[in-house]
Every structure is written in structure tokens, then in C-alpha cells.
Symmetry: D4
Subunit: 231 residues, 8 copies
């Protein structure tokens, strides 16, 4: 058997890997899990851990975590969020502020938790509001105070994706909409929710990719960092 | 110049035309306007008027109405609804009942009026509730009593099409969702609203084609006819 | 190994779970199975069973039922419908009425049975008419009397989804169309059937999401409840 | 003003033009109208008329015909079919046989007539059956004898496109399905009808492009030519 | 454990099953395999075998065949075609004629064989021409005589689906195009091939659903039956 | 001629009109132009002008402006932005801050100007950077200081929509991506740019609907308002 | 009337305009016509003409040319190609080489001519081969020598877009495929041709956007420039 | 058990197999792996190895390689590229030249390596530049000299697919864009990247199918062969 020498693309790959998911100042180093072996993730986390107080990896399945835990003892695993990190919130905030994470259905929880845990690992306080879908609007209205306490809102919904429009109409804070792939049939893996959010009649709603809880948290974090830097 | 003899397909065409949009008992005769000349519409309405108390034509533009009015004096034109009819509501009800027509934005009005006027020409009482989009949920909630008074609800919305989910969660009556082509960009001519309504998390919502206010009113009318026949 | 404390989102999750699939008066409590463990489904059913005469869970695979049966002895499993319930029809009707469920092909049976069993668990009489696809129209016509006896019709079809148009043209009762994901190639997982039903030339047809037999039964149930409440 | 010399691509263009829509033996020469000036169409028809007994041009609007009629007196214009030809049916048949053309709605007539007139100009007997959409199935069944008399059937339908499935289930002859762009909203310019026909549960249905009445007639003509050549 | 009584929908299901894939006179009885258990397929084949000389089942995987073979000894399995039948060609022809089956790439073979074996089980002579894709046009031209000997042509191609246009331009016989799901990326599971065939510049090409070799053979069989009945 | 009485839906329509595009505190009142007559827009602007210092209408074509100017003298028209307003920037800032508006091609200017003028009418300082598409990356890099001076960035691009990824990688400020419908062929009216932005590898990018410059400015305004309120 | 001062974005716009369609050495300066007024195009051409021997503008309609000709006498207009230029080929070649432009149907000519004239204005010799669609393969084969004489091939086709696969299989030179928007129905404005070309079974085919004859010529020009620079 | 005789389509299949992926002179013989058994691939490689110095098979999974290695000892396996070959680069160049392969993210590596290894097996020198996505544009600019040394560039990117536009704007060499299926949600398996590349504002970019690294290398190889043959 003659395998190709792994060194050819190995070195350069390693030197440049994963920096494009990190934000330059004041936030965790981040590794995107898909397409990497547990060994690769472990090695990268180890190198990063020496240089940053908080390192996190996203889209980590439980079995991968079990392997990572053997390689790098002391990691914390956020099961719903599928995030593996080197630290446990609360984390000393560099930029104060509260991020509200609102979620339509229980099936949307993993995406909402990815957003919430990412925000917490960035040092922000997080307000969670789960299972307040628009078909039972009273539950959302009964918890309106939670929305009001947040400086930025992340609204997560699958199926028809209507929740962000309602929430953005209730608050003055900027809102970020996250469609999820939850649904079946004509949901087309989240396309229905995505289109709904892009066409929201609520002015001033920013949309991220389907299931991208991480990206929503990053946008929220940048918004609050900007606020703190300037003020 | 040698044109084809018009008689070849003319007769059969006329004999069978437009009966497939009529309901057999107790409702108006209906003509679908698109693809017919004013002369054709006028001739069909004249023939039908001799046999039915109420005849109506849908998707009639103002200029077409002006030509129809010359051919068949005494017609009534519902400008927003783009409906032309031989009668003015209130019409003696054959089957009692109230149909609520709810509309998200002012641009959705033509479709909502097509539903409302059709329902009135079928002899039902209609409750209109306009411009209660989900981004300002308080307006909808402030008018909740109107929803409660209706036996069937028709909910019309373009853009993200979220209103039917909210309405269906507030009432016990069956609800019919009508997506409209209002919107731009990623609305894809009503596709976003259509998908949103099909994926509604509210159980028991029937959806009709984009901009099909007429079809929604027909379904509501059939529901109330059934109720009256059986009870 | 350091897992996140499960209590954080556990409690709120449980308190609000699954009420959005229930109808407020006179119908079963319903649990949507996908995305829940058998333990979760069992716990929720147990809590609900104490408060409601009929509790049902949808989209339950046989293996899940076997686990549920151990946790909560006495459950009934409707294999074709993939429904698990705490009661067996006939159920004392709160609102009388007959729902006809019509099905194009044998492969559409699970969706049709989901509709039929849901309707029965709501206390309605159900008329089944299976395998009467439009390519053999005589079979449908030979059973026309079954259609005539129904107060509401649910018409289930995959592939080209043409059956609802034909049925709605034969009866006066309101009809609900359910596209299924049955087919291959250009069926695009039910999109062809869905589009066909939305474009039906039969006036007054309400369409639900692909494979959503449950939603169709809920709409039918709401129609008949309305009828009975008013009359 | 310096225009490019038209001779550069003019000659070759002319020499090769339009032969790809003609069938080699026993059928008319055909010109596809779109994208050509009346002068170009007139010139080509003149050249062809000297060599063939029947020359026809498709997709000709009335104004174009008026210009053609001045250039080439004696042409016949089939208004519904939008075909302009050098001959009037009945044409001496080279290959005997009857082609049935069936049409769902009156708005589908232009496409159906394009098929019917093309078939007649090929020398076949044509049976027309108009406005027999599936929502009023009795009209189709009442005319079943017309279907039985045809050797090949062309079935034209827009909206949900369900008619070909029903027709193909009633007859033994091969059937060709033509979706039309008639409809609105979720018809997506004929896509719904096209998908419906491709997914037909009736075995042995050949589908052509949206609005392609001409292509359907050509396939029917080839089928009957084959029959006659061999027998 | 309380399972639903299987008799409820069992009987009707069986009585009506699978007749919609059969053609009424002179062709095999056909069972569509997907969604049926080996036991069900076996029972249906057994019942049919008593009444028809040729019974066939399509889309049968090898493991299913092995189970069928135990239940009903003597069945023949066409591995590439994934067809299981009660007879081996050559079968006494009821309607003479040759069907040419042409195939672009080796990966398209299963669909092409489904067409070829179906045609043979209908009693027709089949001419196979494999692996003559348009990127090596000389191979097709070198075998042009095979095309010329066929009364009807079935042309099977995936990827860009260009072969039917070329073949239909070379012959006078009617041609049926079968797109396959072979390809990757922008083939979108056969959509590219399907659209290519529907837009063919060759006049008179009938298209069937993606991977529907069986349907193409049925259309070819109907064409040749018509020819023989009439002549 | 008998038109419907306009009062029926007129009053309610007027009372509720257009409030859903306004933000509650500190920003202009906004009218969405499409679907309204110049008279309607003029009346609404007049009413609003009495109560608010800044009123603006979006998507106003030049001919509509000319009519508005006669009805309501003193309006200002922003031709590229297609905005009509009652005030001219600079407007006394309620919330200080700079919004950078970056634009890929000259054809994207109307959308970029809609964003820029809206931001200016909200009282923010705007930095414009035009025609810095990614195919000439040096122009963007040469103007990097403009990006650095902005607290929020709005990045407008059609065609492949790649500019937001590059910009978001260069700055720390939050970025809002606006796809435009500029392009042809496989741009599918902005779909290509929209998908590109949603899939950006730059973390923390919020996307709005195609051509929605107004919505992007509203999101930027909310971000800066939040910043100022809290600090 | 108060229009916005045009100077605000005017200057920067002008300074940066249109350089992104030019290639840096040895090729014409190019202006993309759409979205610019004749005055703007004329001004830019005038400025560029002073600095470059060859200036060209693409997508210029005849009426625009007539206005340009008055502003800038001496321009040449290529009517089919819709190109307006300051020079007439043959142009002194900087890089020798022959580009073959092959075209499936006469309706594809404008796109093919855009490619051919662009290539000629770059100084290359162009071989034209028109109307050699795959449904009449003999015409292509009869002109095979023209293909063989070309160093690079540009193959233009609409409808099913099959020609590039056939051509690329006949020659050794690299081939560039240009889908056109010619077609109707399921061509979806060129999508069918685009997908066909991307899925070509011929190895080594580069595809450009729908109707992008200019882009294909640019790629061909870069290929030949590279050849000449290196050799 | 009665299986069909394998000889019927076996022989022809084998004689014609796989020649359509080979280029006629000076390049390796190529086998496309998918849809073939290891035995079939092994047999074909063996036959080809006797006639050609370099034989390669693409899309070979590791387990398939292990089986191939037993059948045909001495094969080389390029794990990232999933290519199995009979030779190891450097290979004696028939046509000199350097192909640059540029890659946006580490997840795109398999496609980029398929291109790179194919190019090396064709005898070209390959310059690799990995992980230079547009969100960190400085990394690309820092390696600009690598781009400048290449005669042809292959640019591989998933997600938003923006890298080819930037690269093509930096170099004079022709560029080939390869979209990959890397991404999630609205990437739609590479559709977003594909559309982005087709709409590139950089003139002269050729696009191949999603994940088609092999095809890109073949186009690059043809470009350099042409250069060398002519010069």
C-alpha cells in the first residue's frame, strides 16, 4: 500500500486553520467542528488554549466530545448547544450587555442554545425565553418583560418562522432572526422560515443562515462591543 | 385575408363555459374574467342573469367594467375587489353565518376584498378587519372581539404571511389562509407567504392559492352551507 | 467529563411543552412525536392522561411504541397511522358528524390513516375510501355514495395529486386536500402534489402541508365543531 | 452611421434556417415564428412554398399575420392556434388516422388549437373535445365516445394539470400530455401542471414542454406515420 | 400491547391493489414494489399468476428477490432492471414490433434495463444500444443502423440528458426520452436531464418522469399496440 | 355606473395606514410608496408632517414625485434613492454615530442611496464608498480608512454578492449585507447575491431582503440607538 | 421642486466607473451598457477613446446607438451583437490565434455575435459556425474542419443546451459553453441550458453565465494571451 | 433461483466503458469510480495499464482502494483527492506549464486535491494555495506571488463562493472556478457557491459543476496543451 505523504498539505493546512471563525479582540477562539477528526479538533484546541482564555468548538456531537474529553481533559460540553469549550460561564465580561434569546418551539432548542452558549462564552449575560411560538401569542406577551430587558434579541424559529416579526414589533432593540431546519414537507429544510424572515414586515431585522445560532451570537456580540467601545 | 371560421370551436366553447366555477345550489353564478373579452363576459352574464338572482365576474379591471357597463347597464362594480356583479349586498341569506376577513397590510386589500365581496354576494354577513399585521400585534389583539364573532375566518397576508398562525391560535373557528403576491425580492411573488402558511404551527389551517380570495370565500361558504344543511 | 446542568432549560421546557398542538375544548390532547425521546413522550402522556379523557401522540414509530408501552401500559397503537393513544374509538361524540377520508394510492395510506384515526379520536364517525386514484376513475365513481354521506371530506394523494379536484367537483361538502410525499423523480418529495392541489380548478378546496394528515383532521374537526356550536 | 455589413452572417443564416423544425417525409415545412421579423418569415415561406404543398408558421400574432398577408397573399390564419399556413384542411391524408385533442379549460384553447391545427395540416383527422376539466368529471365521461374514436390522444391542461391522468386511464390509445402556462400564483407559469403530468399515476403518458401544442402534434404524427409505414 | 385490528383497512386494500399499473389487454400484470413487504408482493403475484400468463414486479432489490424466491419458487430476477417476473423472454408476441432502447452512460443502465425488460415482457423485440453518450458522437453514428431498425425508440440519459435530441434528429420513428437521476452537483437528482429533454429542439419527443424506464416502455407498448390494432 | 361606496373600508384603512413602517422614538415617519396613489401618499405625508419633524416616503418614482410636489410644495426628492422627504440632511442627531454604506457596482447605487439617505434622515452621519467590487480588491483596500471610521457598515452588492464577506473580514464593526437584484441570467433577480451573503464565511453578518436598503438602514439605526440609550 | 444635488455621488462614481470590465493589457476598454444613459456612455467612451485604440460598449440597443452616434460620430454599431465600438475589425493582432464561435439556433445569434465581435475587437481571428444544433447533427459534422482550425471554441446554445457536449467531444481545443435564455416553458429563461452545460459528460468544459457572450470571449482571449506570453 | 444471464449487456458494456472520460493524446486514461464495483475498476485499470503510462480512477473511497490494492498491487492512493493511480508525480511533462490551485477553506480540500492531483498526473507542475478565504483577504494578498507564477488558475470554494472573483481580479491568467458542496442551510449543497461564480463580476471566468475538481483540471490541461501545441 502506498499512501500519499500526508505532509504535503498537512503543514500549511494546520498553520492557517480556523482563524477565520475567530473575532480579533475580546472574544473566544472558535473552531468549526464539521469535517475535522476529533484528533484535529483536539490538537487545535490545545494550541489555542495556551494563548486564549476561552476556546470553543461548535457542532460537536456527543461521541466526538467523549473522544475530545480523553484527549484534552477538563473540557465542558453543552449538550443541547453541541458546543465544547474550555470554560464555564459566567465569564468575566469585557463588554457588558444582555442578549435575549427567544425560541419558537422545543425542536428549535439546539440552535437557540448554540446562540445562547456562544453569547455566554463571549462574556454576555443571556436571557432565555423558550417555546413562545406565535400560535399561542399569549405566552410571548406574558413574558414581554424579558424581551424589554435585552439590549439585542436573537429570535430562533423553524416551520413558518413568524416569531421574529412579532418580537421585532414589540421591542426597540435590534433583532437578529435565525431560521431553523425544523419542519417537514413544504418547510424544505428551513427555506420557508428563511423566506419568511427575509420578508418580515418589521423594519430592521437582520437574518442569518438556516440553523446558524453561532453567527447570530457573533453579530449580537459585535453590536454590543461596538456599543461599549464607542460609549 | 382568410381567417378561420369562428364557428368551429365557438359553439361548444359557449355551451360549456364557466360552469366549473359555480357551486350547484344557493350561491351566485361566477365568471372568471381573465382571458375573456368584455363582449364574451357580457354575453355570459346576460344569459346567466336570466336564470340566477346573483351573477358575478372576478378579476375585472376598471376599463373592462366600463365596457361591461355599456353592454349590460345596471351592473355594480366593486373596485378594490375587482368584482362586477348583478346585485348589491346585503343579499337575502340562504344560509346564516358570519365570515371574518382579516388582512395584514393595506397592499393586501384587493385580495381581501375579493374574499369579502364574494362572501357577501353568497349572502353571508362579513366582518372586515384590515391592516392588523403581526409586526404591530397590539392592533390585532385590540380587535379580538371581531375575530370571536366570526363563524369562519379568512386571513389574508403577503410578505412573510405570519398572520394566519397568530389568528388561528386566538380563535376556535376554522381558519382559511390566503397568501398574496405582495412583497418584493425574496417574497418570490407570494411563495414566501405561501410556504409560511403551509408550515404554520397552528393546527387546522386550510391554505388556498396565492391571491385566491375568491377560493377562500368559496371554502368558507361551503363550510357554512354544510353547517346549515345539517343542523 | 463535565456536562452542562440539565436543569437550566429543562424546567421551562417541560412546563410549556406541546400545548400548541392541542385544541382548547372538546378534543384530545396531542403530542407531536418527532424530536422527543420515548421517556419524554411517556412523561407528557402520563401527566395529560390525568386531566383529559383522550391523549394521543403522532408520528410514533413501532419501536418507540414498544418503549412507550412498557412505560405506560394500556396504550393503543395505530400502526398505519403511526399514532399512539390512550383510548379506542368509537369515542363518545361531543359534536356529531361524518368525516370522509379518501385516498389515491396504497402508498398514501399512512397519511390517510393519520387523518382518519385523529378524526376518530376527536369523536367523529369516519368513512374510509382507499385506492381510488384518478387513473381508474370508475372506482371513485362507483363509491360516490360514500362521498355523499360525509359532512367534510379529506382527500389524500401523492404523485400528481389530482384526486382532490375530482372529488371536490363531485360533492357539495367542503374538502381538504392533503398532498403526500409519495412519488419519485419530479415529484420532488410531494411538491408536485402540493402545487397541483393549490392550483385546483375546483373552487373551495383548502390545502395543508405535505403528509399533514393530522392537520387536515384538525381542520375538519374545527369545521364540524363550528357547525354544532352554532346550530 | 456605420452599420455592420449584413452579409457576414446573413447568407449562412438563411441557408440553414428552420429546417430543424421540419420532419423529413410527408409533413409540412414548419417555421418557428418568435425572433423573426415578418419579412424574414415571409421570405422563408415563399421559398418553401415552391417546394412543398403545405408550409406553416407557428406563434404568429395577429399583427404579424396582417403584415404577412400583404407580403404573401393567400395565406390562411388560424387565430386561436396562432398558426399561419399556405393551405386549408382537410388536406389529402398521406397517413390515415384520428388524433383526439382534449382540453381542460377555455383558457387552454390556444395551445390545444396549436396542436389541433398542426395535426390537421399534417393530414390527420382531428377530434376536438373542449372544456372537460376534472372538476366536472361528468362532462368528460359524457363524451367518452370521442376519446374512444381516437388513435392517439393529446391532452392539454393548465392549473393542476390533472386531466391527462384521467384520460389515460379511460383509453387504450397512447396519450400525450401538454401542460399550459394557464394559472396564477403557485402555478408558476405552468410548472405545477408540468410536474403533475410527469408524476401521473397513469402508465404510458408522454409529456412535452409547457405550451408546446406543436410538439405534441408532431409526436402524434410520428406515431401514426410509424403505424402506417409498418402495417 | 394493543395493536389496531388489521382487518379494518386490510380487505379493501387488497381488493383494489395494483390494478392501476396494469394495462387492460395483452400486456403483463404489473406490481410496483416500493412500499410493499415481500409477503405482500408475493401474495399479489400468486393471485395474479393464476389469471395472467405474465406477471412482473418493478423496483425489486436483490434481497427482496431472495425472499420472493422462497415464497414463490420459479420467479426470474432481472438484476440490472430490478424486475422480478413469472416468465422469461422471448414471449409470444401479441403485437409485433421492435423497440430500440438507447442509453448514454453505463450508470444509466438500470433504468434502461427496466425499460428493455418491461418491453420484452410485453412481447416486443428489443434492440439495446448502450453507452453511446453525446460526448463521443461517433459511437452513436457507427450504430445508426440499430436506430433505424426500431419502430419506437426509448432514449435514456442522465447528466445533461442530450442524447434524445440527437437520436430524435437521426430517425423518423417516435422517440421517448427518459431522464435519469445519474449525476452530481448541479444535476439536482435528474432535474438537469429532465429540463434538457423537455426543451429539446427535436420536434416530437415525449418525456417521462426521472428514472421511469417502466413508463417509457408502457408508452412504447401502447404505440405499437395501436399500430397493430388499426392496421 | 354604480361604484361601490368608498367609505366602507376607507376609514379604517386610513386610520391604521403605514404605522407599521415607523419606529417609535426618535426616527422619521415612513411611508412605503408602492401600491398607493400620489394622492394617498400626499394626504398621509400631510397628516404626518403636522406631528413629526421628518417624514419620508420610499420607492417614489420621479413622475410620482412631480405629482407630490404639486400637492405638497416644499418636499425634497432624492432621485437615486427614490426617496421623497420633508427635510434635508444634515438633521440634528438624536443619537450620534457614523454609518458606512459600501457599494459594489454603479448599478447598485439606487439601493445603496436608499440606505444612505434613510440613515441621514434618521440623523446619522453617513460615509459613502461606491464602486468597490471584489474583482478590483485594491480599490476597497485603498479606502479601508473609510470602513474603519464607521460604527456600523451597510454593504450593498448584486451579482455574486461577495463584497460583504470581504468587508466584514476587514472591520470590527457589525455589518449588514444588502443583496440587490442587479445582474442577469443566473442571478435570478438577486437570488445569487442573497444566497452568497447568507452563506458568508465571515461570522456576524446580518442579511436583509433583496434591494431592501431601507431595512438595512433601520437595522443600523436601531443598533446605534441601542448603543446611545445604554451608554 | 428641490432635487438632490447631483455632485454628491457624481464625482466618485465617474472616477471609478467601468474599469472592472476592462482587462489590463492588450485588450479593448469595455463599457457595460445596461443602467447607463446614452449621455453617460458617450462621455465615458470619449474619455477612453483618447487613451485606448479600441473602446467598446456592450448591450447597446439600436435606439441607444442612434443617440450615441450623434454624440460621438464615427462609432461602429454591430447590430446582432448589440455592441458599439470605436474600431472595425480586422484589428492588428497583439496575440495571434483563432477563436471558433459555434451556435445552435438562429435565435442564439445575438449572444454568439456578442462573443464573436468581442473576440474580433480583441484582435483575434474568428471562425463563425451558425445554426448547427444537435437535432441535425450532420450539419455540425459536415463543418468539422471549422472546429479543427480553432485554438479555442465558444459554443452557444439555448433550449436544452446540448451542443457544447457534442463539440467538446469532437475537438482537442478547450471549449467554453454559453447558455442562452432562448426557449420557453421549462427552459426557465436559460436555466435548462445552463444546467445541461454544467452537467456535460465531456471533460474540460468551462461554463459562463446565461447570455454572457462577452464573458466567454474574455475567457477565450485570456487563454490565447497566456499561450502567447508563455511560448 | 434464476438470474438473468449476465452476458447480455456485459460485453458491450465492457468494450465501450470509460473512454468518454479520457482525453485523446498525452493525458492519463481516467475511470470514474461511482457506480462500479472494485472488481470492475480493477479490471479496467489492468487493461488500460498495458496501453498507457498513467491510469487514474476518481472518487475512490479508502475501502475501495484497499480492495483495489489487493487486486492490482502497486497502485498509489491519494487520500484527500480520493484518486487511485498507477503512477506517482512528478511525471515527465509532455506540455510544460504551472497550474495554480487555490482553495478557500479546509473543508474544500478534497475537491481542490482532486484538481491538483489530476493536474500532476497530467504532467503539469502544480502550485497549491490552501485556506485563503475572502473573509481574511490579507492571507490571499500575502501569497499573491503564488498566483502570479501560475499559467492557469483553478479556484475552489464552497459556501458563498466569492474567492474566484477576487483571484480573477488579481491575475492575468485564465481562471477556472469550482464550487463545492461545502456549507449548510441556504448553501443548498453548493448551489449558492455555483450561482455566485456564474455571476462573478470578474470577466473571463469559466465555471464547472459542483465538486468537479477533475473537470477543472481537464480544462486547465487542455488550455496548456493548446498553448504548447501551437507555440
Amino acid at each position: 500500500m502506498a499512501f500519499e505523504p500526508v505532509t504535503r498539505d498537512g503543514e500549511t493546512e494546520f498553520a492557517r486553520i480556523d482563524h477565520h471563525r475567530s473575532l480579533r479582540t475580546g472574544f473566544p477562539e472558535v473552531i468549526w467542528g464539521p469535517g475535522k477528526t476529533p484528533e484535529q479538533i483536539g490538537q487545535i484546541m490545545q494550541v489555542m488554549r495556551d494563548r486564549h482564555p476561552v476556546v470553543m468548538a461548535t457542532r460537536i456531537d456527543p461521541e466526538v466530545y467523549l473522544q475530545l474529553d480523553e484527549l484534552l481533559p477538563g473540557l465542558v460540553y453543552y449538550r443541547s448547544a453541541r458546543i465544547c469549550a474550555t470554560a464555564i460561564p459566567p465569564i468575566e465580561p469585557e463588554y457588558p450587555g444582555t442578549i435575549g434569546v427567544v425560541c419558537a418551539g422545543t425542536a428549535d432548542l439546539p440552535v437557540a442554545e448554540e446562540a445562547a452558549v456562544t453569547a455566554e462564552l463571549c462574556g454576555f449575560r443571556v436571557q432565555r425565553l423558550w417555546d413562545v411560538g406565535v400560535a399561542g401569542i399569549h405566552r410571548l406577551l406574558a413574558n414581554r418583560h424579558i424581551l424589554m430587558e435585552s439590549d439585542v434579541l436573537i429570535v430562533v424559529a423553524g416551520m413558518e418562522g413568524a416569531l421574529p416579526s412579532v418580537v421585532a414589533g414589540l421591542v426597540e432593540a435590534p433583532a437578529i432572526a435565525v431560521p431553523t431546519s425544523i419542519g417537514y414537507g413544504a418547510s424544505f429544510n428551513g427555506l420557508a422560515a428563511l423566506l419568511g424572515m427575509l420578508n418580515s414586515c418589521a423594519a430592521g431585522l437582520g437574518v442569518v443562515n438556516i440553523d446558524n445560532g453561532f453567527g447570530a451570537a457573533m453579530l449580537a456580540a459585535k453590536i454590543l462591543r461596538t456599543r461599549n467601545q464607542v460609549a
